[in-house]
Amino acid sequence: MCTYIVEKTELSGSAKGEHGWMTIDSANVFFDHPFHAPLDHALNIDFVNRASGGSERVAVELSAESARRLVDAILTALKQGEAAHAA
């Protein structure tokens, strides 16, 4: 079902998009019909710079399963990396 539900979270970092690198300050996250991925529903993330209008974005559309694997991978990488850098 098409919804307008969006989880928004603040970020600090950069993303590389159509016009090269850009600063991003937010991610818009939602689980709904994707535009491109051949899925009924996808976990969609738009990395944007809301402070500059939020029109340019870096986007991903992921299956629910792969999105959960990505979450695990992010948490694992953070844990490993932070441990390694603390050593």
């Binding site: 079902m1 818009n28 019909h33 535009f35 051949p38 009924d40 738009d46 029109s55 340019e56 986007a59």
Partner: protein, 295 residues
């Protein structure tokens, strides 16, 4: 495949089984050209054959508050006059499948015009959709204004017969329902699994969507075709029953088809929910409904 059908016509409720149909595929050329070109100038005379020639191109239309936007226009070849339908895209935006729907209509003798409801946003159609979503979606008033603009555009075309329907998918089905209630000149409406037509939580009525769409049912004066999958969660069976109950109590003319073994968006051939048998049948019902209602 099983498909239950319930219909309403003042004094004529009926139920019967579904039937199978044949979907004729195929798309002719797509070309960008000025909206003002004439039928005779578009293509040389085509030889007679088993398939209909058609053309499609981008046009500029005047939407809500006079804003200029783009629409995809697909028409059957020939002098016409042809019936027409405004194709209202779903929340992910003005995507390839929306254009395919317009071409399918044209291939079957119906002009299809699909306005981009997010044209006010910058960027490509997917970026426009992302921005619209981030901003909480577009307002119902704006959508109705844009649909009115698309209606006016197609009615002014020399190949159109003046009868225009609307059809939409998912949120576009909801928008079709609202448009049919608010735009008196709409001659037929197809709701393909429009979600949130019945809003039970008042918290969901927000400034951009302030009215429960089912409240517009009393104002709909055109025939309605409903296409639903029985495995859909929004609208689920109870919601479809509620919509039908309201239409029936108001004496509206409607024809609902509910397909077993199908869920949400089962006509979308590029997604896993596609159900070919049910989809072929549903398309035949859509074409027949428009030809009958817009003759």
């Amino acid at each position: 495949m099983t498909n239950s059908r319930t219909s309403g016509r003042p004094g004529e409720p009926r139920i019967d089984g579904g039937r199978r149909g044949v979907l004729v595929g195929g798309v002719a050329l797509a070309a960008a050209a000025a909206a003002s070109r004439t039928a005779s100038a578009q293509t040389p005379a085509a030889p007679k054959g088993p398939y209909r020639s058609q053309s499609s191109w981008l046009v500029e239309f005047t939407g809500h508050k006079g804003d200029k936007g783009l629409a995809y226009y697909a028409r059957p070849e020939g002098a016409g006059p042809f019936p027409a339908a405004v194709v209202i895209h779903h929340a992910p935006g003005w995507d390839d499948w929306t254009m395919e729907v317009a071409r399918k209509l044209a291939h079957n003798g119906i002009i299809g015009i699909a306005p981009n409801l997010y044209f006010r946003e910058p960027g490509s159609p997917d970026d426009q959709a992302a921005k619209a979503r981030a901003d909480g979606g577009v307002s119902d008033d704006q959508v109705v204004g844009d649909v009115e603009g698309a209606l006016a555009f197609v009615r002014a075309r020399p190949e159109a017969n003046g009868k225009v329907g609307v059809m939409g998918f998912c949120s576009g089905g909801r928008h079709s329902f609202i448009s049919a209630g608010r735009i008196k000149s709409i001659n037929a409406m197809v709701d393909c699994w429009g979600g949130s037509v019945v809003v039970s939580d008042p918290a969901l009525l927000v400034p951009k969507r302030p009215v429960n769409p089912i409240d517009y049912a009393k104002d709909i004066n055109c025939p309605i075709l409903g296409i639903f999958g029985n495995d859909d969660q929004n609208p689920d069976k109870a919601q479809v029953n509620k919509i039908e109950e309201v239409l029936k109590s108001l004496g509206k003319t409607y024809d609902f088809h509910r397909y077993d073994g199908a869920g949400h968006a089962f006509l979308a051939s590029e997604r896993p929910n596609y159900r070919p048998e049910q989809a072929v049948d549903a398309w035949q019902k859509i074409y027949a409904f428009f030809h009958k209602s817009l003759a």
